[in-house]
C-alpha cells in the first residue's frame, strides 16, 4: 500500500480494483498452497515478473521492488537456514516475496481512490453490524497518507539528535516521535473539520 500508483494504460491498469484484489488474493492463496518444488517456484516467480511486464512497469521496476525486500529475505533466510531443508526454505522465501510483489503490483496499477472505493464497497454488508464503510475507507486513505509524514518526523528527530551529538537512545527517539505524531493528529483533525468532515 506504500508504493503509489504509476499511471499507465495496460490491461492491469484498466482492470477494476475489486476483481483485481480478488484475483491477487486467489493467486496469493494458490502460491502459498503450491507444492515446494523447483519448477513450481521458478514458474511462479516468472509469472509474477510477466505480470509486471504486462503492466508496462519494466524489468527495472521488478528489480527495484525486489530490492526493497532484501532485509526481509535476509531475516527469513537466517531464521530458517539451520532448521529447514534448503528447498523448503527457498519455497517459503519465494512465496512471501511473490505475495508481496503481487500486492505491490496492485497498488502500482490502481489509484488509491479506486482501491479505497473497492474496500468501501466490500465492507457495505457490515453496515448492519454498525460499521461505517466510508469512515473505514477514509481511515485507510489517511493511514497511507500519514506514513511518509511519520517517516519525515523520524528523519527530523534523528537529524536533530545527530546535530546535537546525542548518542543513539531509543527513549530519546520514541518520545519526541510520539509527541510529533500526536500533534500531527490534532492538526489533521482540524484540517478534516475545516474541510467539512465531522
Amino acid at each position: 500500500m506504500i508504493s503509489l500508483y504509476r499511471p499507465g494504460d495496460s490491461l492491469l491498469h484498466r482492470l477494476p480494483a475489486g476483481p483485481k484484489l480478488l484475483v491477487v488474493m486467489a493467486l496469493a492463496l494458490g502460491v502459498s498452497l503450491a507444492p515446494a518444488n523447483p519448477w513450481t517456484l521458478t514458474g511462479t516467480a516468472l509469472a509474477v515478473a510477466g505480470c509486471y511486464l504486462v503492466a508496462g512497469l519494466g524489468a527495472l521496476e521488478i528489480a527495484r521492488q525486489a530490492y526493497k525486500l532484501r532485509w526481509l529475505v535476509l531475516v527469513m533466510v537466517l531464521s530458517q537456514v539451520f532448521f529447514l531443508p534448503a528447498l523448503t526454505m527457498a519455497a517459503n522465501v519465494v512465496r512471501v516475496v511473490v505475495v508481496i510483489l503481487l500486492a505491490n503490483l496492485v497498488t502500482l496499477t490502481t489509484r488509491t481512490e479506486q482501491l479505497v472505493d473497492a474496500i468501501e464497497r466490500a465492507l457495505t454488508p457490515l453496515r448492519r453490524l454498525g460499521v461505517n464503510p466510508s469512515r473505514v475507507a477514509l481511515m485507510l486513505s489517511m493511514t497511507i497518507t500519514t506514513i511518509p509524514v511519520i517517516a519525515g518526523f523520524a528523519t527530523q528527530i534523528r537529524e536533530a539528535q545527530r546535530a546535537r551529538g546525542v548518542p543513539v537512545a531509543p527513549l530519546a527517539f520514541v518520545v519526541p516521535l510520539l509527541i510529533m505524531a500526536l500533534k500531527h493528529s490534532d492538526d489533521l483533525a482540524d484540517a478534516l473539520n475545516a474541510r467539512g468532515v465531522d
Partner: protein, 229 residues
C-alpha cells in the same frame, strides 16, 4: 461581500483568555489581521470556520452561525493553515483536491472535471498523480488552496499561509491570494507587506481589537509600538 460579524465574542482556553469581548463588522474583500504572537489573531481566524467555539458571544459569517450550522458554513468558508504538511489528507494530489467534493452528490466525471480545472488554476496539473507529500512547500500550500477553492467558498480564511515558505513561494501564494483569487479573504499574518496590500487591517493585542482601518496608518502605529517594546 460576505459580512463577518462578531458580537462580544470571548474565547477561553484552559489557563488563558484568547479573545476578550471582541466585536467586529467586516465586509471588505481583503481583510488582514495582524498582532504579536499570542495576540488572538489565529483564534479569531479559527472562530470564522467554527474550528474554535466562542465561550460567550456570537459569530455570524454571511448570516451563518459557525457553531450551530457548521456543515453549511464549511461549504462557504475555506480555511488554509500555516503548515502545508498538516493539510494533506489523501495520498495523491488529485485525490486530495477531490476530497473537498465528498458528499456533494457530484458524479465521478464532474469531480474529475472540477479537479482538473482547480489544479490547472494553481499550476499543479502535471503533479495530479504524484504523492502529495513529495511536493515542495510552496506546491503543498498551492494544493491546500486548490483544495479550498475547488469547493467554491465565498470566503477564504488563511492563517499565516506563508509562514513555512521561502521568499519566492511566499510571493507566489501572496499573488494568488491577494490578486488572482476573487473570493473574500481574511489573512492572519506577521508579514506586514502582505497586510499593506489588503483593504483593511485589523490589529489584535492581548485578545482584543486595538486598532483597525486603512492599512498604512494601522501598520505604522503597529510598527511604532513594536519599536517601543
Amino acid at each position: 461581500m460576505t459580512e463577518i460579524e462578531l458580537s462580544a465574542v470571548t474565547v477561553e482556553f484552559p489557563g488563558r483568555v484568547a479573545l476578550r469581548e471582541v466585536s467586529l463588522h467586516l465586509d471588505q474583500r481583503r481583510i488582514a489581521v495582524i498582532g504579536s504572537n499570542g495576540s488572538g489573531k489565529s483564534t479569531f481566524a479559527r472562530t470564522l470556520n467554527g474550528l474554535v467555539t466562542p465561550t460567550t458571544g456570537e459569530v455570524r459569517v454571511h448570516g451563518i452561525d459557525p457553531v450551530r450550522q457548521s456543515r453549511q458554513l464549511r461549504r462557504r468558508v475555506g480555511f488554509v493553515f500555516s503548515n502545508p504538511d498538516t493539510q494533506i489528507i489523501m495520498p495523491t494530489v488529485a485525490e486530495d483536491a477531490a476530497f473537498s467534493l465528498r458528499g456533494r452528490g457530484l458524479s465521478r466525471g464532474e469531480v474529475r472535471e472540477r479537479v482538473a480545472a482547480a489544479l490547472e488554476r494553481v499550476g499543479l496539473t502535471e503533479y495530479a498523480d504524484s504523492p502529495a507529500h513529495s511536493l515542495s512547500g510552496g506546491q503543498k500550500q498551492l494544493l491546500a488552496l486548490c483544495a479550498v477553492l475547488i469547493g467554491e467558498p465565498g470566503l477564504v480564511v488563511a492563517d499565516e499561509p506563508t509562514a513555512y515558505l521561502d521568499a519566492a513561494n511566499s510571493r507566489r501564494i501572496a499573488r494568488f491570494l491577494l490578486d488572482e483569487m476573487p473570493q473574500q479573504l481574511v489573512l492572519a499574518t506577521h508579514d506586514l507587506r502582505l497586510a499593506a496590500r489588503c483593504d483593511i487591517v485589523v490589529r489584535f493585542e492581548d485578545g482584543q481589537v486595538v486598532d483597525q482601518g486603512d492599512p498604512d496608518p494601522v501598520i505604522a502605529r503597529y510598527e511604532h509600538d513594536q519599536d517601543q517594546t
